[in-house]
């Protein structure tokens, strides 16, 4: 086995060389889930520096492969040198450990959760959330407004939570008769709330109150 630092970007993300953008995104989210600071799977396996280095490589790999132009450049480089290595010293790709987290926070395409986390610190958003939670009832429109204010699309929620876009739309449009059984609806609302960095329980309770 090659050590991670000798792997090429495709190997880092464990995707085939003809992977689609969706596959790359999914692989990237999986990799983050595995190597993140609070991941159970790799708990205590790496030192802080090693972990930062791995996360940096994952970031590098994702940023290159998700961008059609950078990717084709990179592919040419692989073919030319017949060894595509995530170069530590390559000036252009060089991102030091500190900026990994920043990159996570800055770019929306990078990570939905990091994006929402940054965004929800916004005062306007804060006010919106407070107002929503003050009300006893919470309707789909409230959720939708918050989601759009955060700049999150239904499709993105689906990609992370795997709740079907149709169901998500039904929830947001209060089409109660179309909604799934209570058990599922509770779980869906919970995931939806968590994704938008909201306390899940008040959202679930408020939504059900509005439905009753």
């Amino acid at each position: 086995m090659k050590p991670l630092e000798h792997k090429n970007y495709y190997e880092v993300l464990e995707v085939p060389t003809d992977a689609s953008a969706d596959e790359i995104k999914r692989a990237y989210h999986n990799a983050l889930a595995t190597y993140d600071d609070d991941s159970l799977v790799t708990y205590s396996l790496f030192s802080d520096e090693q972990r930062a280095e791995i996360l940096r490589m994952i970031e590098c790999a994702f940023n290159t492969l998700i961008d059609a132009e950078k990717r084709s450049q990179y592919n040419r480089k692989i073919n030319d040198t017949s060894q595509a290595i995530c170069e530590k010293t390559d000036g252009q790709d060089r991102v030091d450990a500190d900026s990994v987290n920043q990159a996570l926070n800055n770019s929306k395409a990078d990570s939905l959760q990091a994006w929402v986390r940054t965004k929800s610190a916004d005062e306007e958003i804060q006010a919106m959330v407070d107002k929503m939670l003050d009300e006893e009832r919470i309707c789909g429109k409230d959720l939708k407004n918050l989601r759009t204010a955060l700049g999150v699309e239904i499709r993105e929620i689906y990609e992370t939570t795997r709740i079907s876009p149709t169901v998500l739309t039904h929830i947001e449009e209060d089409r109660f008769e179309e909604l799934p059984a209570e058990f599922y609806l509770r779980r869906f609302l919970r995931s939806y709330a968590e994704l938008l960095q909201l306390e899940p329980q008040p959202i679930v309770d408020g939504y059900f109150k509005n439905m009753a």
């Binding site: 086995m1 991670l4 159970l40 799977v41 708990y43 205590s44």
Partner: protein, 311 residues
């Protein structure tokens, strides 16, 4: 030669003895001749799990040389086909087994006249535990879905690898430079990547041999006390991460569901799989037993033994 299943995992209380006893019972119930060996020296309680208060014989008679054949100190259990070799009557200092005794014991275990021999090991990473664990071609590492258990499991894996690498280098036909560099006591634990580098530098021709010897041992990851809230893909993720960062074969071989009634069964000194055979915990134990049987066989055992002969 029996198929040996060492059950280890680093952390205490993750259910090594419980899993060992359950697997032994299930394998015996499916018609195999099984010996359970309690190698949690100094903290043995396999006999209690099996409802035997005070085994009539045990490891002490073999280590004292009162009995020459290890099989003679095995006692039958209430399950037909399942025998127990207990260490509960061993002297208080037994936890610090002498090297010669350990070698003798490992040799005797490899020659036990059973289909399957299950070794219940203690927590921690002391040399005895590591050597019993690597006495077979497959080892089962038990872990619960908690950071404490995962942390100890990783430590255990690293310790097993370091121990194996040292054995391989020490007894293999590697160049003297390789041996003197890698076996230097000041070096501390060995890592596979460092070992490969060293062999590549001084004895490149033997790199394939090193790889073959190192890959001859397979880790089976078993998750115990799996809860409904546990990430269902945790085992597969662990398998992947281990294969990626430890460079030896790892395999996720089972997920045993948590069940409150395990506690009740232990209190009654009865086997959970007998008391509650149709619970999801018992069924997942059965599944795990099947998975392990599928991958471990006397043939892999023999190959492993030949390759590490002399240790």
């Amino acid at each position: 030669m029996p198929t040996i299943y060492p059950i280890g995992g680093g952390k205490g209380g993750v259910g090594k003895s419980f899993v060992a006893a359950s697997l032994g019972a299930l394998m015996a119930m499916s018609g195999r001749r099984v010996a359970l060996v309690d190698l949690d020296l100094g903290a043995s309680n396999l006999h209690t799990l099996l409802g035997i208060k005070s085994p009539a014989s045990g490891l002490n008679f073999f280590l004292n040389k009162d009995v020459r054949l290890l099989d003679r100190v095995a006692v039958p259990t209430h399950i037909s086909g399942l025998n127990l070799i207990s260490s509960c009557h061993c002297a208080i200092e037994i936890a610090n087994l002498h090297y010669a005794q350990k070698i003798k014991l490992i040799k005797a275990i490899r020659n036990l006249p059973y289909d399957a021999v299950i070794l219940d090991l203690g927590a921690g990473t002391n040399f005895n535990t590591l050597d019993f664990f690597t006495a077979a071609s497959n080892g089962v590492a038990i872990c619960t879905p908690e950071p404490t258990a995962i942390e100890n499991a990783f430590r255990f894996i690293k310790a097993v690898h370091s121990r194996r690498l040292k054995q391989i280098i020490k007894t293999g036909p590697y160049a003297d430079e390789v041996k003197s560099v890698l076996l230097d006591r000041r070096n501390g634990g060995l890592k596979y990547s460092e070992t490969v580098q060293c062999v590549e530098t001084y004895d490149a021709g033997r790199l394939p041999l090193l790889k073959k010897q190192f890959d001859g041992f397979r880790f089976h990851i078993v998750i115990n006390q799996n809860r409904r809230s546990t990430d269902p893909t945790l085992g597969f993720k662990l398998e992947k991460v281990c294969n990626r960062h430890f460079s030896a074969p790892f395999q996720f071989s089972g997920r045993i569901d948590f069940d409150e009634r395990v506690h009740d069964a232990v209190n009654q000194k009865k086997l959970f799989v007998e008391l509650f055979p149709n619970t999801s915990a018992a069924l997942s134990l059965k599944h795990t037993a099947r998975e392990l049987i599928r991958y471990c066989s006397p043939a892999t055992e023999k190959r492993h033994h030949d390759e590490t002969a002399g240790t």
